[in-house]
Every structure is written in C-alpha cells, then in structure tokens.
C-alpha cells in the first residue's frame, strides 16, 4: 500500500501537510455548505407544510 | 448650494471633539502611552530603538486614529444630529469630509506635532528630519482618518463598533503605512515614497467622502 505513494524525500512531510490542509479545509467547507443548504431546504419545506416541494 | 452647512458641520465637529474627551489630550495620551510601552517590552538598546522608532510611531498613530474615530458618526446617530445633517442643502460627502477633517485637526494633527518629541525619546537624531517626519505623520494620519472614517460610518449603528472599525480599516491603512515608513526611512529605491504618500492621501480624500456619505445614509435608514 505504501509503495503506491510517491517518495518525496525530505520534503514529504511538507507536501502531504499542504494537501492535508487542503483536504480538511475544502472537504470541511463542502460538507458544511451541503449541510447548510439541506437544513435551509428542510426548514422551508417544514414551514410550507408539504412534502418539500421546493425547487 | 451654499457652503454654510459644511462650515457648520466642521465647527460642530471641532467643538464636539474638543468638548468630549478632554480635547486633544486623550488621543495624545493614548499615542504617547502606546509608544512608550514598546521599549519596556522590547528593551532599551539605543540602536534598536532608533531602528524601530518610526515604525512604532506609525502603529501608535494608526491605533489612536481608530480609538478616536469610533464615536465620530456613532454619536451623531445616537443624538439625532445625523438626521439633521442629512437634510441640509450641502452634499453629505462634503459634510462627512468636514467632520472627519475636524477630527483629524483635533486628534491627528496634535499627534504629528508631538511626534518629534517621541522620536527623540526613541533616540532619533535631532534635526530638520524631525520636522519632515512630523509632516509625513500628519499626512499619513489624514489618510488614516479618512479610511477610518469609512469604517466608522459603516459601523455607526453597531454597538461596540470599535472592533469592527479596526477590522475594516486595517487593510485600507496598508498603503499609507508602507509609503509613510518608506518615505521616512529614506530607504534606497524609496525616493518616490513621499510622492506616493501624497498621492495615496489624495486618493483617500477623493474617495472616502463618497463611501462615508453612502454609509451615513444607510446608518440613518
């Protein structure tokens, strides 16, 4: 499994750290945004009292 | 359009700034206090103080402008004077500029005039350069007050707006701080810095009043 990862020598930690930060920041944002949109849609649907017929 | 409302706004702001908050003493005290704290924090080695002195004074100047600006439009919102100023025959931008200029006169100019004293305390050589520096601080302070005025107008209706003003104004202070300190240090390649400082201050004087006017109309809405 580890063989699949390229060898970056002394800079490996820095490079993976960068992409790790990117994954956490972007992944977190995507999840946060989707959750927010979902809850907004649901609360509107609840308010309208029907089965979520909002485009 | 007559200039009478603009003059009146200037006069009122001047007397208000003077009456509320011990005149120029409060910002002066803040300016000096903030600057004097630094040697206590970083040590008193003369060579180092000479190097960091101008920068410390710039930071203190920026901070004291922010502190005095918090109330300049907020007070007008609270006591209802803003409603009256918005209904004169003069452009709101001119009124806002007059008020900001008055506050610079009472709180910004005294700081610039006192800067030679502080510069000497920071081991600067006595000489004509101190007067040049005072002029540069005065000019830079004017830009600080106008950009800070935009922040103050935008947060005029916000309770504890001071923090918001700082956050809004900080990035706008950058060019002035850079041109100002370059002009003062006389760094190689920084020959054009004094001119750039003048230009960026003029830019602030030209643009900020309109932003303040829009923000003040919003504050009254």
């Amino acid at each position: 499994m580890m063989d699949l990862l390229p060898d970056f020598g002394k800079n490996a930690a820095y490079i993976w750290a960068c992409y790790g930060i990117g994954l956490v920041l972007i992944g977190g944002t995507v999840i946060g945004v989707l959750v927010k949109a979902r809850s907004a849609k649901q609360s509107l649907a609840r308010l309208k009292g029907d089965d979520g017929d909002v485009t | 359009m007559s200039p009478a409302p603009i003059l009146s706004a200037f006069r009122q702001a001047l007397s208000e700034a003077w009456a509320g908050g011990a005149g120029a003493l409060l910002p002066l005290g803040f300016f000096a206090g903030a600057a004097v704290l630094v040697p206590l924090g970083i040590g008193t080695e003369p060579g180092m103080l000479r190097t960091v002195g101008p920068g410390i004074l710039w930071v203190s100047l920026a901070l004291s402008s922010l502190v005095t600006l918090e109330r300049i439009f907020q007070a007008d919102v609270e006591d209802g004077a803003l409603d009256l100023w918005l209904q004169t025959s003069a452009p709101v931008s001119a009124i806002a500029a007059a008020k900001t200029f008055a506050h610079w006169l009472t709180a910004g100019l005294p700081l610039a005039l006192m800067s030679p004293v502080l510069a000497l305390m920071f081991q600067a050589e006595a000489g004509a350069n101190l007067l040049t520096s005072a002029m540069i601080y005065g000019l830079g302070g004017l830009a600080f007050f106008f950009w800070g005025g935009v922040g103050a107008a935008l947060s005029a209706t916000v309770r504890r707006g001071g923090l918001l003003i700082a956050l809004i104004a900080l990035p706008l202070y950058v060019p002035t701080a850079i041109f100002g300190s370059l002009a003062m240090s006389g760094a190689a390649g920084g020959d054009s810095a004094p001119l750039l400082l003048v230009a960026s201050t003029l830019f602030a004087l030209a643009l900020a009043p309109f932003a303040m006017a829009a923000a003040l109309r919003l504050a009254a809405d």
């Binding site: 390229p6 970056f8 020598g9 800079n11 490996a12 820095y14 490079i15 750290a17 960068c18 992409y19 930060i21 990117g22 920041l25 972007i26 944002t29 995507v30 945004v33 989707l34 927010k36 949109a37 907004a40 849609k41 609360s43 509107l44 308010l47 309208k48 909002v54 485009t55 | 935009v150 935008l154 947060s155 209706t157 916000v158 707006g161 918001l164 956050l167 809004i168 900080l170 990035p171 706008l172 950058v174 060019p175 850079i178 041109f179 370059l182 760094a187 190689a188 390649g189 920084g190 810095a193 750039l196 960026s200 830019f203 643009l207 900020a208 932003a211 829009a214 923000a215 919003l218 809405d221």
Partner: protein
C-alpha cells in the same frame, strides 16, 4: 444573455443551479483529482524550484488564483447590486465571501508550509504575494463581520456593497504598495511557477487544477446561494404567517 437573465431570477436560478451545481461538483472534483495525480505521481521533480516541494503549487497556485478571483467576483456582484438593486447579486456576494475567505486561508496556509523548507521560515514578510493575500483575507473578514453586524438583510446588502467596492478600489493600491515594500528587501520569491516560461509538463496539471478548483468554487457558491434563497423564502413565509395573511 440567456444565461445572464437566468441568473437574474431566483426561480430560474434555482432551476438552473439544480443541475448546474452537481455538474460543477463532479467536473471540479474530477479535474482536481487528475491534477493531483499528475502533480504528485507523474510530473518529474524540478530541481530549479527546490525539488519535490514545488508539487505544492498544484494546490497553492489555484488557491491564490481563487483568492484574487473571488474578491473580484464579490466586488462585481456588489457593484451590480448597488446599481440595479437585484437581490440575486447580493445573495451571490454574500455567498462568495466565506468561500473566498476559505480559499484565501488555504493559499496562506499552503504558502507558509511551502515557505518553511524553502526559506527556512513559515512566514516571509518580504514576499509580496503572501502579504497581499493576507490583506485580502482581512478584507474578506471585515466584509463578513460588517454584514453580520447589520440588523436586516437590506442593510447588510448596502453596507456590504459599499465596503466591497471601497475594498476593490483599494486592492490595486495595496498590491502596489506591498510590491514596493518588498522590492526594497532581498528578492526571495521562489514561487515563480506562474507565467508562460514554465514547462508545459507542469502547466497542464496546474491549469486543470485551477479549473477544477474554480468549478468546485462555483458549485459551492451556487449551493450557498440556493441555501440563502430558501432561507429568505422561509423568512418571508414566516412573516406572512405572522401577519396572519
């Protein structure tokens, strides 16, 4: 034009973004993945750029590009709102701000990590790009804080638009002053990755990453805009219920 008018109408926007946003998510993710695979596994290391560390550019440069582009987009939307008072433009500006701040933070963080092995320091005050992006980050923060402090959406829109436009007019001056500031110190920039002189072996993965990030960003903006439209519709509905209509 058809596209523009579709974006100008909340209902048409909802209908359009309903399929456009998922498409952007998919395409964006695919392009980012391809760029990553190329950047990390395929392209050779560049010893003129500090060796393997230059592989960071496949995330750092797109982040820098989006930091600039998103502020411009936010200011543009603010301008459109200020002139035409179209609610959707305000919704767009509001949605762009937190996302722009995220990518700006990403640019700063990856720049710092890149800086450590290259300059030997996490933060290089002499690097004009890092400094400019830092101030851009502050502009985003101020914009969001100001909007949050206003007590109605109308006031938030007006205050935000004023600040975004003032900020946009200042960005060139800030950039110029920071460039001047740093040019007087030693030239320490390592990130010479952008520009046509770069070998095409790096250019393609970089371009695709940039496009992928932009598409993902666009998808997120659309989703946040949809959420905001629903939130406002709900508030309107609630107000109607309260009024007894």
């Amino acid at each position: 034009m058809g596209m523009l008018s579709a974006f100008a109408n909340p209902h048409r926007f909802l209908a359009l973004s309903r399929w456009l946003a998922p498409l952007f998510y998919l395409l964006g993710a695919a392009l980012i993945a391809w760029g990553l695979w190329q950047g990390l596994w395929i392209v050779p290391r560049d010893d003129y750029q500090g060796g393997d560390i230059m592989r960071v550019m496949f995330i750092h440069v797109p982040a820098a590009w989006l930091a600039m582009a998103s502020y411009s987009a936010m200011a543009g939307a603010s301008f459109v709102w200020f002139i035409w008072r179209h609610e959707l433009a305000d919704i767009a500006a509001k949605a762009i701000a937190p996302l722009g701040a995220t990518w700006t933070a990403l640019c700063l963080a990856t720049g710092a990590v890149w800086g450590k092995p290259t300059w030997g320091t996490w933060w290089q005050w002499d690097d004009a790009r890092m400094m400019s992006v830092l101030f851009l980050f502050f502009l985003f923060l101020g914009y969001m804080a100001l909007r949050a402090a206003m007590d109605s959406r109308q006031k938030a829109a007006r205050a935000g638009a004023i600040l975004a436009m003032v900020g946009a007019l200042n960005v060139p001056l800030i950039k110029f002053s920071v460039d001047l500031f740093t040019s007087l110190h030693q030239d320490s920039s390592v990130i010479t990755a952008e520009g046509p002189k770069m070998a095409s072996v790096y250019l393609w993965p970089l371009l695709m990453s940039g496009l992928g990030h932009s598409l993902l960003f666009g998808a997120l903006v659309m989703t946040l805009m949809r959420a905001e439209i629903w939130t406002r519709q709900a508030a309107r509905h609630r107000a109607r219920l309260l009024a007894g209509a």
